[in-house]
Subunit: 107 residues, 2 copies
DNA sequence: AATTTGTGCAACCGAATAGTTGCGCATATA
DNA sequence: TATATGCGCAACTATTCGGTTGCACAAATT
């Protein structure tokens, strides 16, 4: 199944998982210990992250180590790039609107 | 209602709306013209974006101009900041894991 | 004054989401 | 060989989501 990474990071648990494994690869059990919900629920989240390739896995015997896929995270960052110029810009769209409305009233 | 901005940008239509109004404030009708779905459906999306303060509004008579709230977009960027060091790092968590596994096998 | 226009709100509906429990199965361990 | 462990998969459930249509109402236009 193809998945949208933006939809994947919509869930707070999944964002927490990403933060967890960012510094070190972890097994599902180790990850699940950090949450209140069941191991299977956490495993489902991991699977969703894997489907959109935000995480990748490496099997070692019966253990599976999940790790962050930085490349995919970059894709999210790439979208944000569209807006970065906005918040670096002194005159944003609100300013433009206000100027427009003021001009209108003066007529 | 309090809303999660990550949940808000999960929907592709909402992301498109954000891009649309990034450069210029727009009314709901003008925004809706860019999509196949009904005006009301688009309006719902705008409302969700407003609830999490990704967009702000300015009324002018019976027209409402929606514009991007850069400040809130920055919050998303802030979260990504956690991972930025990862993809700038030569040795990421996968490398660490591989080294770990290799050491294990040599035992 | 009558009509059109811009907008929000409510009710409804099917699909997707996030959680649960139970199970099967391969790999470790005793 | 028998048992324990790590993991994924399937079935079920309540809730949320994204869409629709119909309506109300204030503001603009005729």
């Amino acid at each position: 199944m193809r998945r949208d990474p933006f939809q994947a990071i919509a869930d707070p648990t999944r964002r927490a998982i990403l933060l967890l494994i960012a510094s070190q690869a972890m097994t599902p059990n180790a990850i699940a210990e950090n949450f209140k919900s069941s191991r299977q629920a956490v495993s489902k989240h991991i699977q969703i992250l894997a489907e959109c390739e935000l995480v990748k896995q490496k099997q070692d015997g019966r253990e599976i180590y999940y790790h962050l896929n930085s490349t995919k995270m970059k894709e999210i960052d790439k979208w944000l790039e569209n807006f970065r110029k906005m918040w670096e810009n002194k005159f944003d769209s609100l300013d433009k609107l206000l100027l427009k409305l003021q001009t209108k009233q003066k007529k």
